[in-house]
Symmetry: C2
Subunit: 402 residues, 2 copies
């Protein structure tokens, strides 16, 4: 179908373009390709979220490679359907993709794109409010194997609807774009949306992801559900978490042991997981008064078996991505992730240098120096200049600069 | 209609009885009047919750006396409809009562009772899962002025549905019957259901109510809503809170200032509101290691203007209750409540005596002694032997026994 025909069909004076992302044909509003910030009208499509969708396809494909139940996928706020359609085309094990959006033009575009990819028989479309779509579209309970939630702004008001809609051992993927809130710019807003306090630090993005995960875990636990992170990542504009959901109240009872606080010293850069039962506001190292982040997730953000499996999936299909650049980027990210130490915070080379009043040292050199000094150290996917280690901030400065 | 006719109509071998509670006729299963624990089948009716319903009628009537929007009431898990029907009959300002239960026999009984009271035209019936009833029964949004939630066990999984269903400046009433969880017997279960830790103390019921309120407040805040308690009470078998719901994100942002922790010393009985930013695990008085409850609601549990208004409503109608005994009990409770100090915990005469290794002193004498010694002191509706005061546990023992 040519673009002017579609414009005519939709009764609008908008132009649409046909593009290819990954292995998937997509009809998108021309304006979304030309404007700096893609507009909501006539329908939302964010071309710069291509990387985000490449990661999604990798994660869903990996999940489908071992899960017995990876047949249905719900793209609950799908816009023009980019993620859902790519999943339908590029993750063949999934046999039904549900695409929902409140905007009928977006759904009309998604339908046309489904035809272009010859996957109409795999797709079910809905025009509905997200919670109605997820929980109440049908009189009987309808649950999905994979559910994605990617709203404008905070996912906080919809997280319960996602959790109510997923099968046992299913996968949920949730995006938060209110990164300023989660990174500590508006702590009171963060508390009311994510039930924990953030702090503005050089590793605030990891704290933000941990707040998002604990918030989802707390919503799950009141439904007798537990979440277990498969993978989490972020960039400037969003944080995104992929979580396994497991049914059962005895596992859910353990949620309190997976949520805690981080203590941070603004004076000497010291940071540690803090047990409130033993809490001391003073820094163990320099005796300054510390600040506290949390409650937040203090367990792993990655399932290392799962991460290894993503590398197997990548090795088998070098076209699993929208470009060679992104394929290499996926490989690099997952290789770093595979070796990332499980400490719940990282240090950053520039901050350490600034604290030591010395010039910055390259990440590889920092990690080697720490290992030579008998510490554990690894890169982190959270920050290009970040590293995880069991060395304290003082240990690090001593190892690097003294 | 005679009871055998109804049994015949329902196609069951059950007997039903017609009783009167307050000003309202109710058809109830005979077995619910004879068994110690009223059974769920053929339909649930708890005769011993009469007091609870008397309080409800008083609160709803008071709310209706000043609110411009007190026209609709939703009894979301109504059983045979006792609370909803009493509200329809005894709170005339409410013009529509929605009664919902999953059990069709319960709804059939509620319908027959509505006829007996000649209020069929005020009643709308539904047989549905509670969240579907509250949020999705109609395609368009339907919100209520007053919503009641009184489930078997914990209200935790349904609280979001209640909050989604209430009008701005509306009233929600929520019952929790999992009092062992909220009072500290199962702290990990409490954390996953109410997002805070309880502690087993002589004032654990007040801590439980404060955990319940903060949990509801946190659910509200992610929808840009705030809750403000009108009234809360409890007995052995339940805790019950009546909260005003206000729309708007700027008020919602202040939720973090209304939620905090309580620090309790098992050694000397000292207790205080603890700011985590200044937290010290050691007791200010005896230097023992303390325990921590929370996060929980540290603001008022009562709106004192509202409580005064309940007394006005009671004065105007001496039949506002199911019995003279309960009328007097309501009066007494609200008079105590009107004068109750707003500290977030109370002391108990027996515990103080036991700590002092002396014999117990009557509540009135305790309060008089404290006031004579220059402290503030009041009774509390939370406990017949309880008192609130700005005196510390040591001050109290000194004032009473030294």
């Amino acid at each position: 179908m040519k673009s002017y025909q579609l414009s005519y069909k939709l009764g609008l004076k908008n132009d649409f373009k046909r593009i290819k992302e990954g292995k998937t044909e997509l009809l998108v509003p021309s304006v979304s390709l030309s404007e700096k910030v893609p507009p909501k009208n006539p329908a939302f499509f964010n071309p710069s979220a291509k990387w985000n969708r490449d990661v999604s396809v990798l994660i869903y494909k990996t999940y489908a490679s071992f899960s017995k139940n990876a047949r249905t996928f719900a793209d609950s706020i799908c816009g023009v359907g980019a993620r859902g359609l790519r999943t339908a085309v590029e993750v063949p094990k999934i046999d039904t993709v549900y695409l929902n959006d409140l905007n009928p033009i977006a759904i009309e575009l998604a339908k046309e794109s489904a035809k272009l990819n010859e996957i109409e028989n795999k797709c079910v479309f809905d025009i509905n409010e997200v919670c109605k779509f997820l929980n109440f579209e049908q009189r009987d309970v309808r649950k999905f194997d994979i559910v994605d939630l990617d709203p404008f702004g905070s996912p906080s008001p919809y997280v319960d609807c996602v959790l109510r809609s997923v099968n046992n051992h299913g996968l949920i993927s949730i995006t938060a774009t209110d990164t300023a809130v989660l990174c500590g710019v508006y702590p009171n807003v963060c508390y009311r949306k994510y039930y924990g306090f953030p702090i503005r630090t050089d590793y605030c993005n990891e704290i933000g992801i941990r707040l998002l995960v604990s918030f989802i875990a707390l919503n799950a636990s009141r439904f007798d559900l537990s979440v277990i992170p498969y993978f989490c990542h972020n960039n400037l504009h969003y944080m995104r978490v992929y979580l396994k959901v497991v049914f059962g109240n005895s596992l859910a009872n353990s949620v309190s042991s997976k949520i805690g606080h981080l203590k941070h010293c603004r004076n000497c850069n010291h940071r540690k997981v803090e047990n409130l039962k033993e809490h001391n506001v003073l820094c163990e190292i320099c005796n300054s008064k510390c600040i506290l982040a949390g409650p937040l997730w203090i367990e792993n953000l990655f399932d290392f078996e799962f991460v290894k499996e993503t590398l197997n999936v990548l090795e088998k299909d070098e076209y699993l991505s929208s470009s060679e650049t992104n394929y290499k980027r996926l490989l690099r990210m997952m290789q770093i992730c595979k070796n990332e130490l499980a400490y719940p915070f990282y240090f950053e080379t520039d901050s350490i240098a600034s604290k030591a009043k010395k010039s910055s040292i390259s990440l590889d050199k920092v990690i080697n120096s720490l290992i030579e000094n008998g510490f554990k150290a690894s890169k982190t996917i959270m920050n290009d200049k970040g590293f995880k280690t069991n060395a304290s901030s003082n240990d690090i400065i001593n190892a690097l600069y003294k």
